[in-house]
Symmetry: C2
Subunit: 216 residues, 2 copies
Amino acid sequence: MDESRDDRPTRSQQAERNRAAIAAAALEIFTSKGFASARIEDVARRAGVAKGTIYLHFENKEALFEAIVQETILPAVDGLGASEPEPDESTRAFAERILTTALARLQAGQGFAVIRLLMAEGPRFPNLAAIYYRTVVEPGLAMLRKLGERAVTRGETGGDVLRQFPQLAIAPVLMGLLWEGLFDRFDALDVPALVRANLDLIFAPSSGSDEAPSRR
Amino acid sequence: MDESRDDRPTRSQQAERNRAAIAAAALEIFTSKGFASARIEDVARRAGVAKGTIYLHFENKEALFEAIVQETILPAVDGLGASEPEPDESTRAFAERILTTALARLQAGQGFAVIRLLMAEGPRFPNLAAIYYRTVVEPGLAMLRKLGERAVTRGETGGDVLRQFPQLAIAPVLMGLLWEGLFDRFDALDVPALVRANLDLIFAPSSGSDEAPSRR
DNA sequence: TATATATGACTGGCCGGTCAGTCATGCAAT
DNA sequence: ATTGCATGACTGACCGGCCAGTCATATATA
């Protein structure tokens, strides 16, 4: 009879559940309002918790902010770096798979809002940009460069561009997120098509494996 | 002799000068702190003016914000739409000229900061996104589409991409500004080279004038 | 009972916006 | 010229609302 029915969570389980609810709520509030305008009390209400409870789990507003970025954003993006192309898969096809998946996740989740948040608050939270660079940007670019190597090795086109400017593969994703967040109501943009068109350019049949360093 | 030495400005001249100083100060404060965290009193101090003076020239904080965005962004970008390609200039060369100029201006001024500001605060100031779309985005895309037509007419490559996805020509500029603002300290990026590389892709010799709508 | 967890009223500082008052300038009337 | 009045740009102390963070109190598990 020590715990009779275990359908009721233990206290520490409940506490952990609260912490998660707070983090989820904070993500929404912060992304929609920005750091300064986000009110802790709104986070509490959305999490179904009293304001004081938040301070049991997080040092202060700033700590909460950095914690949710690390705990919520990063898991959403990783796992992509782990995947490998099938041996017989073209580099182009693999790249499209990766980018499309990433885009879908970003669109489904708080994609644009999070990027907005990073851009907006980045300079005021230097750790944030650094963490983001190390855990997302750098590995992402490394993967694209590796893809470039693979393309070159397999005699596919586009490898040199990928190696030299992997950012070019990402740029349309960024553009798409920005567009959807700001201008979609004026003129809808088919972002996946945009990304595919860009891949068409990178892996175009002719541009050969020796992309000239671009004269003039 | 009615005004003896005119080295002293009249009162209304001084007032106008103050308005300009306030706008300039506000641009710096807003871009560095964001809307919510920017303090009116700091704007006043930087402009060398008392707090109340700001409210003689601007309705309130929000109006000040919108005013400086309009007065700063627009002059920086317009004039570009007016320029025309030389009759014997390749479309590629003209596009490069335009994009490079725009990029240089953005890098020189508060370009990135203002774009960041737009992305960050845009959703909270719907007017702003609308104004920006109508005065910058739409004309810019229209120009790129016209360039696409020109390329097709002249039998150059790249025309179809430009007509269908003019955003692809801009994406690297956006990526470059983002990068410089956030990640340059970790890994410097040659943005003009990035833009040129992208133009190389768009105007690649082979991709012909019939870019397939991109299967899969 | 002792302890971990949760609550929400409360406090203190911050900051947007106000407004009564100052002062330099422009303008007449003398 | 000199004086006196009118104008309006400018000032900064002040007000009031807002909100991060605190803490005395309550609850319930172990």
